[in-house]
Symmetry: C2
Subunit: 249 residues, 2 copies
Amino acid sequence: MSALHLTTGAPCAPLQDGKVRIYAMRFCPYSQRALLTSAAKNVETDVVWINLKDKPEWLLEKSPGGKVPSVEIADGRVVYESLIIADYFDDAFAEPNLHSKDPVSKAVDRILVEGWGKAGSSFYQLAFGGSVDPEKIPELIKEFEGVVSTYSKELEKRGTKFFSGDERPGMLDYMIWPWFERRPVIPIFFPDAANWDEIRQNSAAIDQWYNRMKEDSAVAKYFLTPEIHHKYCITVKEGNSDFDMLTKL
Amino acid sequence: MSALHLTTGAPCAPLQDGKVRIYAMRFCPYSQRALLTSAAKNVETDVVWINLKDKPEWLLEKSPGGKVPSVEIADGRVVYESLIIADYFDDAFAEPNLHSKDPVSKAVDRILVEGWGKAGSSFYQLAFGGSVDPEKIPELIKEFEGVVSTYSKELEKRGTKFFSGDERPGMLDYMIWPWFERRPVIPIFFPDAANWDEIRQNSAAIDQWYNRMKEDSAVAKYFLTPEIHHKYCITVKEGNSDFDMLTKL
């Protein structure tokens, strides 16, 4: 978990028998989707951390653009794109099923995963943007929290502990989780830019879900506190992303 | 097939027992993905054509933004986004399986479907753009045909009749087909903007695939000739999209 992120010149260790190789970056929410779903499916993994600003040459040979997350299969094929990787784990490994067995529910949840994109984009500007126009911040918070509130209402409407039901988190829960883990960073950065009490009232259902999700073993395996995320975000905003921050704590 | 596209004020007919309702537009490549996969899966469908410039009010209540394609299920739920609809048909209806049963092959094909986006975007500008800068056209053709050539080489590498194998088309075949059906429109519009002989040499494998795909029963069910597509594209370029063109032929 605290291994260094590999850079140019680092050798590529051979694949480990019986383990699935995941290339990832420790603070990347898309990488986290791959880590969460592999953990939820009890896949034995061999995670190789990649320095995104100075990638090992061999990664570019494995996947176009040297993308993370990517998953290398023993036969040399590489799967990338976080949603495709997540579905791959769900298809290739046994129980629990992360997608609903009902095809319509599965499709509706996939629409909600795709719809999350807008929230992700405004969150990115707030948490990682180095030069956000201060006047735009309240608007970006409104946009992000507006989407959050929609998902909170959807969860309330379902009346279940998780989006997938009462038993355990499913695909939709895991696909949006990385941004919820980082969500507390925004009020740390911008305590006066929004009415946080009102926002918390509009997202009560999802705040309870957040507490439940933290207890899930897959989520817990990769969980980082808001304070750690905040500290990492500062390094990004300052143009000096510290991928290896955890090794120095 | 030749019913008029519904506009504002048109009533919404009740769902038909045992049939799946698809809202679509006859010339929309994304709608075609839903039509192709439902046909390939032998789903009994009730297709309702929608005038995209003047949508019936009730469509906006069914799906956000009144999107087409969308699929209405008997219980009132609506599924939209062409790739999600296509997967829904594959999940909800029996053989043939459109996705590969091998999870890695399925993932690799899904990456190729997502990767098609760039081609779709340059094609859109060429075939439907009303005010394309004439100097940009050779570049757009190069971009579109460059992606086509990549897929042609991938098919050649696989050495199979279809991307999915020798037996019949699969998900990747159907997801990219709508743009290949329309591809001959570009040389009709711009006969002198590219070296078409050279382009055809770089896409020989996929040109053979095109001829095989035309024979598939799902493809044949919704096939329109290059001449018809060209005629429709002209109406779009002129700002007067004629959704009902087929009823007047």
